[in-house]
């Protein structure tokens, strides 16, 4: 019996023994970041979410990278120089870019980087162009089209689905030569190897081109041609390229494999645990990372993440703003801040689909709104005056946010905090409502539904605040606040049923065009959801200006153009730009060298960090 207890207590000792040492850095060579969710795919030409980008960002490299915290300055990466007009590598008034390619760089499998790899990487991406993928950015920059299929249809004159079936086979042999010619005439000459350099030829100047190529943009990552061909990706031939277009996500062998030149190698992506493990690339050409291992781990439950940070088993955790108070002041934990290029705005639909269930009676009788309710500028102005911007940022965002004059976030060209903004002024809101619809709105009242995308408490509160203030103006005004799940939103989006909705946008690349086009162009993602009447307005007043601004290469002139667009948006109260949130990053105080870049997918610069008490 005595021996039994001896064994038992020994077992208990081992079992319960935990290295309780707060002065000591846990796992000194390993960085553990707890995220929510996990990567979507590791194919750089399919990945379009920050979780995938975070992994791709450190395994692959781009031609150039952002310099430190800047989003406008670049440093060379796999190119040896950043093209500028001054060094003669940007030519033809911004239509030609030349990149000298670095020598002596090795991919993780030992293959040497060549200029052909660069050409192949971009061409493969453009030809692949999966639906709902990110490749539209390069296709727009290089050719001025939104999708490869649009491009092909415009040049050949036949719809893609008429020529190629779902398996990628030609429906008729007559199209073979046409598609080959399409590649050799348009795609191949656009990106070409010339000696030790790779030359990009754009059809028109495109100001954000370098941003689209810079590090943190997974779609511009450089792949190894030999590896890709061996894995069964596009073989680099003109004949048959269409077989490699628009694969489903799971069909790409790069889905779970990643062989780049980056500072870290992909060791494993354990999808049962939502866990990615990266290890240091000992043969890296540049400065080697100090961390030997990085673990990016999806831990969806907040309390679990917080406990692990507190215990030191995690070095950094994803922290939504509403939980900030729970980690602030924890011993050994520090909070860092950063402002990403993202905004949240409320937008109006000027001509809602008539069958929308969000219109109530569909008439201006106090029990609903007519489908074109928001086409009256006075209604939109009244709404803009009725939002208490400052209180919202102070109380709801706890000060972690900024007011913005339009949809351009601070930090980007075109932003100017001195542009006119609607103040919170209920008297003015009342005046505007009295003018709206020739006084009918004030007299008869209305009932409408404000919608927001669920999962975001701040947006819900914004809707509720707006409701409070507007309803206080007139007892005949009734507003319902409704959260919609993403699937429902998507459906209503497609059908044009949403009368007014709050939704955000995260920059694809750090340029005002990305925001201005999205919200104010008649073909923008949100432009199209604001109804036919809005699109007509945009075509007459905004589209030409937006096109002009993107082709302009002089930053001062671009600034002026974007300010002009924003003034039109203000005068017509095109939407309510609500806020640009500030983000918080909770980590152990032993994390050293952590730096922020607004365009970085993911939350840490693993190649620069080390751990030290």
């Amino acid at each position: 019996m005595k021996r039994f207890f001896a064994v038992l207590s020994l077992a208990l000792f081992i079992f319960l023994w935990v290295p309780f040492a707060f002065s000591e850095v846990k796992n000194p060579d390993t960085y553990i970041y707890l995220a929510i969710g996990e990567a979507d795919t590791l194919d750089p030409h399919y990945a379009y979410d920050t979780a995938s980008g975070e992994v791709i960002n450190f395994v692959y490299e781009n031609l150039i990278a952002y310099k430190g915290e800047s989003v406008t300055e670049f440093v060379p990466r796999l190119a040896t120089e950043v093209p500028t007009v001054e060094n003669g590598l940007v030519r033809d008034e911004g239509k030609t870019y030349v990149f000298p390619i670095r020598k002596g760089v090795k991919f993780h499998n030992g293959n040497e980087l060549t200029p052909e790899d660069v050409e192949y990487s971009f061409e493969r991406g453009i030809l692949f162009d999966p639906y709902a993928g990110p490749m539209w950015m390069l296709i727009e920059a290089l050719f001025g089209y939104e999708t490869l299929e649009d491009f092909v249809q415009d040049k050949i004159g036949v719809a893609w689905s008429e020529m190629v079936d779902e398996e990628g086979n030609l429906k008729s042999e007559e199209y073979r030569q046409k598609l080959i010619d399409f590649y050799t005439t348009y795609i191949d000459p656009a990106i070409e190897v010339e000696g030790d350099t790779v030359v990009f030829r754009l059809t028109r100047p495109f100001a954000p081109f370098l941003s689209i190529l810079a590090q943190n943009a997974s779609w511009s990552a450089i792949l190894d041609k030999e590896t890709c061909v061996a894995l069964g990706l596009w073989d680099g031939q003109a004949d048959g390229w269409w077989k490699y277009h628009n694969w489903k996500k799971e069909k790409s062998p790069l889905y779970e494999k990643a062989i780049g030149t980056g500072p870290f190698k992909l060791l494993e992506w354990d999808r049962t645990q939502q866990k990615v493990t990266l290890v240091r690339n000992e043969e890296y050409w540049g400065e080697k990372p100090k961390l030997a291992k990085v673990i990016i781990w999806g831990v969806d439950e907040w309390s679990t993440r917080r406990s692990m940070l507190e215990a030191g088993d995690a070095d950094q955790i994803y922290t939504p703003l509403q939980y900030l108070d729970q980690v602030k002041g924890l011993p050994g934990v520090v909070i860092r801040e950063g402002s990403r290029l993202t905004i949240t705005a409320l937008h109006f639909n000027w001509s809602v689909a008539k069958d929308s269930k969000y219109l109530g009676s569909g008439k201006l009788d106090g029990e609903g709104i007519p489908p074109d309710f928001f086409s009256d500028v006075h209604v939109r102005k009244a709404f803009s005056y009725a939002f208490d911007y400052d209180t919202f940022i102070e109380q709801v965002l706890k000060g972690y946010g900024h007011r913005i004059p339009s949809v351009i976030p601070r930090g980007l060209l075109g932003f100017n905090e001195n542009l006119p903004m609607y103040p919170f002024d209920l008297e003015k809101a009342k005046e505007e409502f009295q003018k709206a619809w020739n006084g009918e709105v004030w007299e008869k009242g209305f009932k409408l539904t404000l919608l927001y995308n669920t999962g975001n408490e701040a947006r819900q509160t914004a809707c509720e605040m707006l409701k409070e203030h507007i309803e206080s103006l007139n007892p005949k005004f009734k507003i319902e606040v409704q959260g919609v799940q993403w699937p429902t939103y998507l459906d209503a989006y497609r059908q044009g049923q949403l009368p007014a909705f709050i939704i955000g946008w995260l920059a694809d690349y750090p340029d005002p065009h990305n925001f201005i086009f999205t919200y104010y162009h008649s073909n923008g993602v949100y432009g199209t959801t604001q109804g036919e009447a809005f699109r007509k307005f945009a075509q007459e007043n905004l589209d030409a200006l937006i096109e002009k601004a993107i082709e302009e290469t002089d930053p001062a002139k671009r600034q002026a153009l974007y300010e002009e667009i924003q003034k039109i948006a203000y005068e017509n109260a095109l939407g309510i730009p609500l806020y640009q949130p500030e983000e918080v990053y909770a980590m152990r105080s032993w994390v050293k060298g952590w730096a922020f870049n607004p365009m970085r997918p993911g939350e840490a610069n693993y190649d620069g960090i080390w751990k030290e008490e």
Binding site: Y131, E250, E310, W486, P487, D491
Partner: protein
Amino acid sequence: MIFYILRRLLFLPVTLFGISLLLFLMIGLLGPYQRLATFINSPERLKGVDVDKLVELYGLNDPLIVQYGRWLKNVLQGNLGWSYVGKEPVLSAILKRFPYTLELALFAAIPIIFLGTSLGVLAALHHNKPLDHGLRIFAVVGWSFPDFVFGLFVLMLFYGTLGWFPPGNLSVWAEEIVKSPYFRSFTGMLTLDALLNGRFDVFLDALRHLAGPVLTLTYVEFAFLLRITRSSMLEVLRKEYVRTARAKGLDERVVIHKHAKRNALIPVATVSGQTIIGLLAGTVIVETIFNRTGLGSFIALAATQLDYASIMGGTLFFGLILVIGNLCVDLSYAFIDPRVRLE
């Protein structure tokens, strides 16, 4: 007996077919654009996308019966489809997660059944005395505790404060060993594999990570078993044969353990079986709080993201477990109770 088993198994495909059809029709109530959310999961992805083309690519606009037929045809060929949540084929996603769920269920079942039955018997023997009341209150508190509350409490106390039972499957160092080429995976259950590989340290680490979830599940699940055992025991204690046994002058321990308890445990067997089956279907909350790999959180995630291949695959798998599990429970009757003949 053999015929009985065969007959039950013959019904299996019919049951599964019914479940799958019903579920598919339910998913079908959502419009094609709503189900597109599986493929376009953020507004940024809408750029440059013709949503109608995507709907067509994934066949979301076809008549429901055509979509079901397509799914069924694939299933009959052994292809359950691609899981967008698991990010691999559905079958492999399920099979990789099942050992974790099975391991947790087995470890949790031991204390649940042991505590449930022994405390149940104890309560019955002290009928209406303070011990009985105390146990019942203790059990009812556990029974009515939402698992997410108690789970968080366990996490905070035993991990946050005491640092004993960390969340996850394994520690970083132990996972390195398990993922190394020298470590062979026999069953997918970490504790068992660790022992088979002779790694006692990994075994202990896996146990440490199991402790929190097991503790939580035990406290919230054992109460039901305790109550069943208690009432069944009380009933048996009033039976004539118990009185006869006592009248014969048998030792009280023999009366209770041999005559009463054995008979009282027959209904308990059913409930225990069902508890284990329930645990095998995954425990969403406990898996989430303790960040463990498992089927429950997988299917829950699939449901929120409308990943119908995973939902259907997962449901078929649960259906399979349920039918086979219940069959096992029925068969166990024949062994526990000689009066039961399965014809």
